[in-house]
């Protein structure tokens, strides 16, 4: 009885420590500008995704499976998201050009009034029939600040899904979608959460 009297006040503290331990840490992305302030990003303008795959065998609905999902994920991270239409020659943009982040390119992206623009590339999707079936997907994302004409975040998301056995074999058609969803989640996981 006496021991319980000492332990009870400690319980909230123990719970707090346990809960903070369970909070997922921010994934370390490939690049995050040192001065990145989530609070300063009032809105992210999400451009139409680019299909940068060499092998386009798997059909992908870029609007739904990439832009739609990433829009929802960004909203869950506290950002206001708007969409914009395709810019000229956007399909020809390569990952290297986007990595180079030349001011001339950044100026071209998104509507004139937008400040923070995000570009997502689908780099690869593959499903495979094995002792079951598997799917792999690779996506890349870039956020630019058009005001400073700089890249402020860049990362990659890899998604792998699969199920063994006869059930897995029957699920082959779903593996690409699962892999893309996982890749999207892994991509957005390195964008700091916005809380206000």
């Amino acid at each position: 009885m006496k021991r319980a009297r000492y332990v009870t006040p400690l319980l909230p503290c123990i719970l707090l420590v346990l809960l903070s331990g369970c909070a997922a840490p921010l994934k370390k992305g490939i690049y995050l500008a040192p001065d990145f302030q989530p609070g300063a990003v009032s809105e992210i303008n999400l451009l139409p995704p680019i299909d940068a795959r060499i092998d386009k065998e798997v059909e992908v609905d870029l609007e739904k499976q990439l832009r739609g999902e990433i829009r929802s994920m960004l909203k869950r991270r506290g950002y206001k998201v708007s969409d914009s239409d395709r810019v000229d020659n956007m399909e020809q943009l390569t990952e290297d050009e986007l990595k180079s982040a030349l001011p001339g390119l950044i100026r071209r992206l998104g509507p004139p009034g937008a400040r923070h623009v995000m570009v997502v590339l689908l780099l690869d999707v593959k499903t495979k029939f094995t002792f079951g079936s598997t799917g792999t997907a690779e996506v890349a994302g870039f956020i630019y600040d058009k005001e400073s004409e700089k890249l402020i975040w860049r990362d990659k998301g890899i998604g792998k899904a699969g199920q063994g056995g006869l059930i897995g074999m029957a699920m082959k058609g779903m593996m690409d979608e699962q892999a893309i969803s996982m890749a999207n989640r892994n991509l957005v996981a390195s964008i700091p959460k916005r809380s206000d």
Binding site: K28, I30, I54, D55, K56, E57, T94, D96, D124, K126, K128, F129, T130, F131, G132, T134, T136, E138, K156, I158, K160, A161, G162, Q163, G164, G165, I167, G168, M169, N186
Partner: protein, 233 residues
């Protein structure tokens, strides 16, 4: 004494459904063991022209870049047969150029042009092999093409993305595949004009290895549309 004395012959009778199940399983095992075929870029090769009969082709040592697929962390080429792969690509490229009856020009045979210039061009292999030529590279190419306007440079570049191996979770039955891959690029660029005469790219969905038939197939596919020499007269 008969050796079979006292033994009864066991006759195994296979039901039709067992045979069918075994046949289906065998087919599935065969399908699953088949390695993925290399894939050429959908754009296909870009060939602007045939090559002049007196053309000489300088083959640059191929460049291979190894990095982790998820975070682009650079990896050492020596851990992945880097030098052997480089030699294999060079040999295949050289054979292709020779089968097209073109003269292979070695870097040391280029009248007074210091090998350093090729090193500087080679540094730009990732861009050049995709046909991207900026003004700096343009000047270097024109310097090489000064003596012979029909000199062309063959640039090869392999971007290797090292992923993780396939996994199997015995509790949930979840499996994943190896996601390593390599993108092979090559371009033939006319030095004097700084124009792309030919380029192509191939995706190989596995780690390139010298002993791999898939890697060999990918190389053959990459150079399969290399341009022919123009017939003179």
């Amino acid at each position: 004494m008969n050796s079979s004395c006292g033994r009864k012959a066991v006759r195994v009778s296979w039901s039709r459904s067992t045979v069918l199940a075994m046949a289906v399983t065998s087919i599935l095992i065969l399908i699953s063991c088949a390695a993925p075929k290399p894939v050429r870029g959908l754009a296909g090769p870009v060939t602007n022209m045939e090559i002049a009969p007196d053309s000489t082709v300088l083959i640059l040592r191929p460049v291979l870049k190894f990095e982790r697929i998820d975070n682009e962390e650079p990896l050492s080429a020596s851990d992945y047969q880097g030098e052997a792969l480089e030699a294999r690509i060079y040999t295949v490229a050289e054979n292709i150029v020779k089968t097209r009856n073109l003269t292979v020009l070695e870097a040391r045979q280029t009248n007074g042009r210091e090998p350093g210039i090729y090193g500087r061009i080679r540094e730009k292999a990732p861009q050049l092999s995709r046909g991207l030529i900026n003004s700096h590279v343009n000047a270097l190419l024109q310097a090489v093409g000064e003596n012979n306007e029909h000199t062309a440079i063959l640039v090869s570049y392999v971007d290797v993305k090292v992923g993780s191996r396939g996994t199997w979770n015995p509790y949930s039955g979840a499996i994943t595949s190896d996601d390593s891959k390599a993108i092979l690029h090559a371009a033939l660029i006319g030095c004097a004009s700084a124009r792309v005469l030919w380029k192509d790219q191939v995706l190989l969905r596995e780690m390139p290895r010298t002993e791999s038939s898939q890697f060999h197939e990918a190389l053959e596919l990459l150079f399969s549309n290399f341009p022919q020499k123009e017939i003179s007269g």
